[in-house]
C-alpha cells in the first residue's frame, strides 16, 4: 500500500473542488485555528503537499455521538474526509467489513504503518476487573488501546468520555472508566472534549498538524488552546445581558423570548472553556445558549458530577464593573426602578437607569 497518494489539493480537485473552494476551505480552517488571515496561503501550501495518513477510529464505552458529529462535517465534508483527506481504515460503525475481516483491516494498518497512523478514540476505557466491561473481538478495550494507541503517531481523544472518562466515569463509576491519557504514555494525546466534540475542531487539529508539522498548543488538560482557550461566558452573545443584569427568570418569560442571560437558569458558561459561541454547531446554525438553554459544561472533566444540578445557578460569578455578583446586579435593577439609589452602589444605579425601558416587566429579586 502506498503511503503517498498525492496531495490533499489534487485529491480535492479530483473530487471536483475548484481552486477557489479549496482556498475557502483553507481560509475557514485558518479562522478556526484563530490564526491571522495572512496564514491562509501557508495553510494552502502545506495542504497541497500533504499525504493521506491512515486513521484508525476506535469505539469503546461510547454512544457513537462523536461519530455522528463527524458525519456533520462540512469543511471538508465527511465524504471528502473519508475519500480524500484521510484513509479511514477502521471504524466499526461505518466500515463495510465485519467480523474477522474488520479486525484484519485494523491489524494490517497497525503493522504496515507503525508509528505513522493516527488514532481517534471515542468513548472511555473501563479498567476495573481486568477491563472485562468492554471487549472487541475477545480483547479488552484496555489491551487494544494500549497496543494500537501505543504504536500511533498521535491519538485524538474525541469527546469527553475518551478525554476524561465522561458519563461512564460519573460517580460511582461502576466500570472504573478512564480517558486515554491515563493509559497511554509516550504518544501525544490531544483531548477534544465535548458531548460530543465539535467536528470543526477535529478537522482543525488535523490541518494544524499538516500545516505546522506539530500538534496545536494545549492547555494543562490536553486541550488545544485554539478551541478551549476561551471561556464560554466571555465569548457569549448574551454576555451583554449578564453585564446589564438582564436575566431569564422563568422558561418562556419575556427575558427568555428576548434572548437574555441564562445564568440564573443554571448556565455553566462561566466555568466552561470551549469555542461553542464562536464556531457554533451544525454549520454554524445554533448552539445551546443560542437556542435558549444554558451550557451544561459538557467539555469539562467530570462535568456530570461537578456541573450538576444543571439548573442550579453557579455561586458567586463576578459581574460587571463594581458589582460583585449577579445578586447585586439584580438588586441594582430594583433600586433603579424604585428610585432608592442610596441603598446600593452608584454604579449599579447608573447602569440600571441606562437600560432600555421597554421591558414589559421587571423581575424583582427574591434573594
Amino acid at each position: 500500500m502506498p503511503t503517498e497518494i498525492g496531495g490533499l489539493k489534487s485529491a480535492l480537485i479530483r473530487r471536483g473542488m475548484a481552486r477557489r473552494d479549496f482556498l475557502k476551505f483553507c481560509a475557514a480552517m485558518t479562522a478556526v485555528l484563530a490564526l491571522p488571515s495572512r496564514y491562509v496561503p501557508r495553510v494552502a501550501a502545506a495542504l497541497e503537499g500533504a499525504a493521506r495518513p491512515p486513521l484508525l477510529w476506535l469505539e469503546y464505552q461510547d454512544c457513537a455521538g462523536n461519530t455522528e458529529s463527524v458525519l456533520r462535517a462540512s469543511k471538508p465534508t465527511v465524504a471528502e474526509l473519508v475519500l480524500d483527506v484521510l484513509s479511514l481504515d477502521y471504524h466499526e460503525t461505518v466500515m463495510a467489513a465485519a467480523g474477522h475481516q474488520a479486525e484484519k483491516s485494523l491489524m494490517d494498518t497497525v503493522e504496515a504503518y507503525k508509528g505513522q497512523y493516527l488514532v481517534v478514540v471515542e468513548g472511555s476505557i473501563p479498567t476495573k476487573d481486568g477491563g472485562i466491561y468492554c471487549t472487541v473481538g475477545g480483547r479488552t478495550a484496555l489491551d487494544l488501546v494500549q497496543e494500537i494507541g501505543g504504536n500511533a503517531a498521535a491519538i485524538i481523544a474525541a469527546g469527553t468520555c475518551a478525554a476524561y472518562g465522561g458519563i461512564p466515569a460519573a460517580a460511582p463509576n461502576p466500570t472504573g472508566a478512564v480517558g486515554v491519557k491515563d493509559l497511554v504514555n509516550g504518544v501525544p494525546v490531544i483531548n477534544l472534549p465535548g458531548c460530543p466534540m465539535n467536528v470543526q475542531n477535529l478537522t482543525a487539529v488535523v490541518v494544524h498538524y499538516r500545516t505546522v508539522g506539530a500538534w496545536p498548543a494545549t492547555d494543562q488538560r490536553g486541550r488545544p488552546m485554539f478551541a478551549y482557550g476561551s471561556r464560554i461566558h466571555d465569548d457569549c452573545e448574551r454576555r451583554a445581558h449578564f453585564d446589564a443584569g438582564q436575566f431569564v427568570e422563568d422558561w418562556g418569560d419575556h427575558g427568555h423570548r428576548k434572548g437574555w442571560c441564562l445564568y440564573k437558569m443554571g448556565c455553566k458558561g462561566p466555568e466552561t472553556f470551549h469555542n461553542c459561541p464562536i464556531v457554533r454547531w451544525n454549520d454554524g446554525t445554533s448552539w445551546p445558549i443560542g437556542a435558549g438553554h444554558g451550557c451544561v459544561g459538557c467539555s469539562e472533566p467530570n462535568f456530570w458530577d461537578t456541573m450538576s444540578p444543571f439548573y442550579e445557578r453557579l455561586p458567586n460569578v463576578p459581574g460587571f464593573g463594581v458589582e460583585a455578583t449577579a445578586d447585586k446586579v439584580g438588586l441594582g435593577i430594583v433600586a433603579g426602578v424604585t428610585g432608592v439609589f442610596a441603598l446600593h452602589g452608584v454604579a449599579s444605579a447608573i447602569r440600571a437607569k441606562a437600560q432600555p425601558v421597554n421591558r414589559s416587566k421587571v423581575e424583582v429579586e427574591e434573594e
Binding site: A64, L71, T77, M95, D250, R257, N282, G290, A291
Partner: protein
C-alpha cells in the same frame, strides 16, 4: 430520544402537562430524527449488504442514467453525472487505500444487483452523506445542536418562541425549518423510496427470510394533543399495541406493568435468583461477569451460560420485535389510528409494486422496506405539524413550558413514573422513582435490548437470534447473509454491536455443524 423519554418519565411521575407548542416542537424534533436517521441507516449502514461497490466500476453510465430516470424525477441523473461518480470511485480504488471499504465481501455470490443499479446506489450513498448533514440542521434550530440536543426540560422546552425577536424561534427560523423539512420529503420521495423499491425487486427471496417469532410491539408516539402520552395512547399518531404470531387481525393493548426483564443469560445477578424476571421499577443492574477471561475466541453459550451484557425484556413472557416494522404493522392493523390511512396507502403501494402480499412484511426485506415507508409517512405529516406551530405563533401563543412543578420543593416525598417513546430503532421506555427530590431508582429498557437480548429464563431466543435461524449461508467465511438480517434491525452501535458480532459467529457455527 433518551432526552424526551426521560422528561416524559418525570412528567408522568409528577403529573405535569406539557403545553401544546412544546408537544409540537418535540414531535418535530423526533420527526427530523426519523427523516435523517432512517436514510443514514439505509445508505450508510445497510446498503453495502446489498450493493457491490466494485461492481459499480463496470457499469455503463448511460444505462445507469436510463435506469435512474425510469424510476424517479430526481434531477441528478445524467450520463455525465454517473460518469463523474464512477470516475471518482475508480480514482479512489486506484489509490490502493480502500479505507472503510477494505476487506468487505465484494464479489460475493449473494450480491444480485446489475452494475448499473450498483453505480446508482453508490452515487446516492455519497449524495445522502451531504443531504443528511443539511437536513439535520432542523435539530440545531429546535434543539441547539445535533447530536445531543439540549433544549428538553421537564414540563416543556427551553426553546423560546417569539416571531419578532432576533434571538429565538422566530419567523426567519420557521422559514428555514420549512425549507429543511421540504428538502427532507423531496429526498425521501425522489431518492430513498425509488432506490428501496429498485434494490428490493432484485432480492425478493429475502421477503421470506429473517422472520423470527412474528411478535411485534409498539409504545406508539407523536402525540397530537396535550396530555400524558404514556397514559393516553389515543393521542398518538403512530399507535400503541402488540401483534402476536403474525396475526394482523388482532392488535392487543399494551400495559407497561406486563413488561419484565430476565437476566438468565446476561452478566447480571438478580437478588431473587436468575430464573426470575423483574419489572423495571424493581429492576436490578448488578454486574456479574462469568464469561471467559480475555483474550478469547468464543463466548460460552451452553445451557446455563451467560453470554451478553444485554438483559432479555419480555412482554407477558413473550419476546417482542420492536422498530419500524412493528410500527408500520401496528398502524396498518389499527383502523382508528391517525396514521392508518397514510401507512396503509403506502404499504399497499409498495407491496403492489413488488408483486408480493402482506405476509412478505414479516421478513428481513419487510423490515428494511418498513423503515423507508415510515420515513415517507413521517416526512409528509411533519410539514403539517410545522404549519400548526406557525399558526400558534401567529395567534400569540408563545407558551413552551409549564413551570408549576419546576421546583423540587413542590414535589411529593415519593413518586414514580414511566416514559414511553418510539426511537427510530423501536420502543424505548424509561422508569423512574423519585424520593425527596432526587432520583432513587432508574431503569431504561431500550429497543436493542428487546431485539438483540439473549435467551430468557424460559430458554426463548430474542428476536435477532430467532430471525437468524434458517438463514442460508453461501460461504461460512463470508456470512453476508447474517449481516443482512442483523442490519435490517438497525442495531444500536453503541451498546450491542460487539456482542452481536460474537453472537452472529456462534450461530453460524451451529448451522455448520
Amino acid at each position: 430520544m433518551h432526552a424526551v423519554c426521560s422528561v416524559r418519565a418525570v412528567e408522568n411521575a409528577l403529573g405535569i402537562e406539557v403545553p401544546l407548542n412544546a408537544v409540537i416542537i418535540r414531535n418535530l424534533i423526533e420527526a427530523a430524527q426519523y427523516i435523517q436517521d432512517h436514510p443514514v441507516h439505509f445508505y450508510h449502514l445497510h446498503a453495502l449488504d446489498w450493493v457491490d461497490i466494485v461492481s459499480a466500476l463496470s457499469a455503463d453510465p448511460a444505462a445507469t442514467s436510463e435506469l435512474a430516470q425510469s424510476i424517479s424525477d430526481w434531477p441528478k441523473s445524467s450520463t455525465n453525472y454517473f460518469s463523474a461518480v464512477q470516475a471518482k470511485v475508480k480514482a479512489f480504488v486506484e489509490t490502493g487505500q480502500l479505507g472503510p471499504f477494505a476487506n468487505a465481501y465484494w464479489g460475493h455470490p449473494a450480491y444480485k444487483l446489475p452494475p448499473e443499479a450498483n453505480l446508482m446506489a453508490v452515487a446516492h450513498y455519497l449524495e445522502a452523506l451531504d443531504w443528511q448533514r443539511e437536513v439535520i440542521r432542523i435539530h440545531a434550530v429546535l434543539g441547539s445542536k445535533n447530536p445531543h440536543l439540549q433544549t428538553y426540560l421537564v414540563g416543556g422546552m427551553a426553546l423560546a418562541i417569539d416571531r419578532d425577536s432576533p434571538s429565538v424561534l422566530n419567523a426567519e427560523r420557521i422559514a428555514l425549518l420549512k425549507k429543511l423539512f421540504a428538502m427532507g420529503l423531496e429526498f425521501v420521495e425522489q431518492v430513498y423510496i425509488p432506490d428501496l423499491l429498485a434494490v428490493a425487486s432484485f432480492y425478493k427471496e429475502w421477503a421470506s427470510l429473517g422472520t423470527g417469532h412474528g411478535n411485534y410491539m409498539t409504545y406508539g408516539d407523536f402525540p397530537l394533543g396535550v396530555g400524558d402520552p404514556s397514559l393516553h395512547p389515543e393521542l398518538l399518531f403512530l399507535p400503541r399495541g402488540a401483534i402476536l404470531n403474525k396475526d394482523l387481525s388482532t392488535v392487543h393493548p399494551v400495559d407497561q406493568s406486563k413488561i419484565a426483564e430476565y437476566a438468565a443469560h446476561s452478566w447480571y445477578e438478580y437478588s431473587r435468583g436468575n430464573g426470575t424476571s423483574l419489572h423495571p421499577w424493581e429492576g436490578e443492574t448488578q454486574p456479574n461477569y462469568t464469561g471467559p477471561q480475555p483474550p478469547y475466541e468464543f463466548l460460552n453459550t451452553g445451557e446455563g451460560d451467560k453470554y451478553s451484557w444485554l438483559k432479555s425484556p419480555r412482554y407477558e413472557d413473550n419476546p417482542m420485535e420492536v422498530g419500524p416494522l412493528a410500527r408500520m404493522l401496528m398502524a396498518y392493523a389499527s383502523p382508528d389510528a391517525p396514521s392508518h390511512a397514510s401507512v396503509k396507502e403506502k404499504v399497499d403501494a409498495v407491496l403492489a409494486h413488488l408483486g408480493v402480499g402482506p405476509e412478505a412484511l414479516f421478513s428481513t426485506l419487510g423490515r428494511t422496506a418498513a423503515r423507508g415507508i415510515e420515513t415517507w409517512v413521517i416526512a409528509e405529516v411533519a410539514m403539517g405539524w410545522l404549519d400548526q406551530l406557525t399558526a400558534n405563533m401567529k395567534t400569540g401563543d408563545v407558551r413552551v413550558h409549564n413551570g408549576e412543578s419546576w421546583e423540587p420543593s413542590t414535589w411529593p416525598a415519593q413518586a414514580q413514573g414511566f416514559g414511553m417513546t418510539e426511537a427510530p430503532r423501536g420502543a424505548l421506555g424509561h422508569w423512574v422513582q423519585i424520593e425527596d427530590g432526587r432520583i432513587k431508582h432508574y431503569q431504561c429498557v431500550v429497543p436493542s435490548t428487546w431485539n438483540a437480548g439473549p435467551r430468557d429464563g424460559n430458554g426463548q431466543r430474542g428476536p435477532y437470534e430467532a430471525a437468524l435461524v434458517g438463514t442460508p449461508i453461501a460461504d461460512p467465511e463470508q456470512p453476508l447473509e447474517i449481516l443482512r438480517t442483523v442490519h435490517s434491525f438497525d442495531p444500536c452501535m453503541a451498546c450491542a454491536a460487539h456482542i452481536l458480532d460474537a453472537e452472529g459467529q456462534e450461530i453460524v457455527s451451529i448451522k455448520i455443524q
